[in-house]
Symmetry: C2
Subunit: 171 residues, 2 copies
Amino acid sequence: MALQSERSLDQTDWKILRELQKDARLSYNELGRRVGLSAPATAERVRKLEDAGIITSYGAQVEVTKLGLPLLVFIQLRCFPDHCLFKTSSAEKFPEILEMYKLSGNYCALLKVALSSMEHLEAFTERLSFYGEQTTNVVTSNLFSQQVIDWEKPEVNLRPSTQQGWDKRKR
Amino acid sequence: MALQSERSLDQTDWKILRELQKDARLSYNELGRRVGLSAPATAERVRKLEDAGIITSYGAQVEVTKLGLPLLVFIQLRCFPDHCLFKTSSAEKFPEILEMYKLSGNYCALLKVALSSMEHLEAFTERLSFYGEQTTNVVTSNLFSQQVIDWEKPEVNLRPSTQQGWDKRKR
DNA sequence: ACTGAAATGGTCATCAT
DNA sequence: ATGATGACCATTTCAGT
């Protein structure tokens, strides 16, 4: 029933998305109060957003620094043709890798990696050297992360092909 | 309540962290069932993890592609000394920027940016050119993201030189 | 989408280890 | 210091409107 397939989101949907991105553990009661809906109606909206694949999951954000991983690095990887990290699907063997992207350009992959120490970094890059050439950059400060997606003109953004740019954001 | 319990995380804490990273909306009842604790005890553990700053927030994960932002790019920025993006604190004016890191190496910053179209990318890089020289790479596929922090051998990975216990503070 | 009732979950005081 | 239990209150869910 959520499949009014290409219905675009209304203001209430966007409010729900904003609130749930900021606090996924809100009760439907409180969430409904904030968006101006009753709890059952709110729950139904959220269920539709989940079914539509717009909300994919709810996750606790953890501070890796406090879990003994004070070092965050980005590694650009140019894979060797015969040992590509993707094709061997060995990424699972590296729990240090938080995110992995395939990129256009000179390097075939970008890795975001959390590490416990310089020794750990050394051991990790050594292990990774089997797969390709690396360029490593250490994060010296994290200016911000996981900004909430919350646009002012969703109806524009939902139809990228037919629009002029969109430069404004809510509030 | 213990102010000085400088203890590190036990297996139950790790189970809680794993479950909450996978589903932040679990009830304490269900979470407690999974980790083998009563609901109040589970709630107390979670509260301590929050107070210790280990769990920083709970967020709904949204699929930016379905919100009209099919283009994900990384931009390396070498700021002009006089117009550094950090010092002018103009990053707020760019809702397209999802994450921003200060990096060691040739480039002073790495931006992760979500965009609605090629035209949008063009307009964005044009606006950003005021701040510094850019190198842009488009993400062609996202191999994985936000891997759950859940080490097989926490006793190894959890001991950097400075293990941080929990500092508790009252709510 | 709202209301109201039944089921479930959260919180607190208390007790036990 | 931490966990369990039970009472009480809040929230979720489902019916009917």
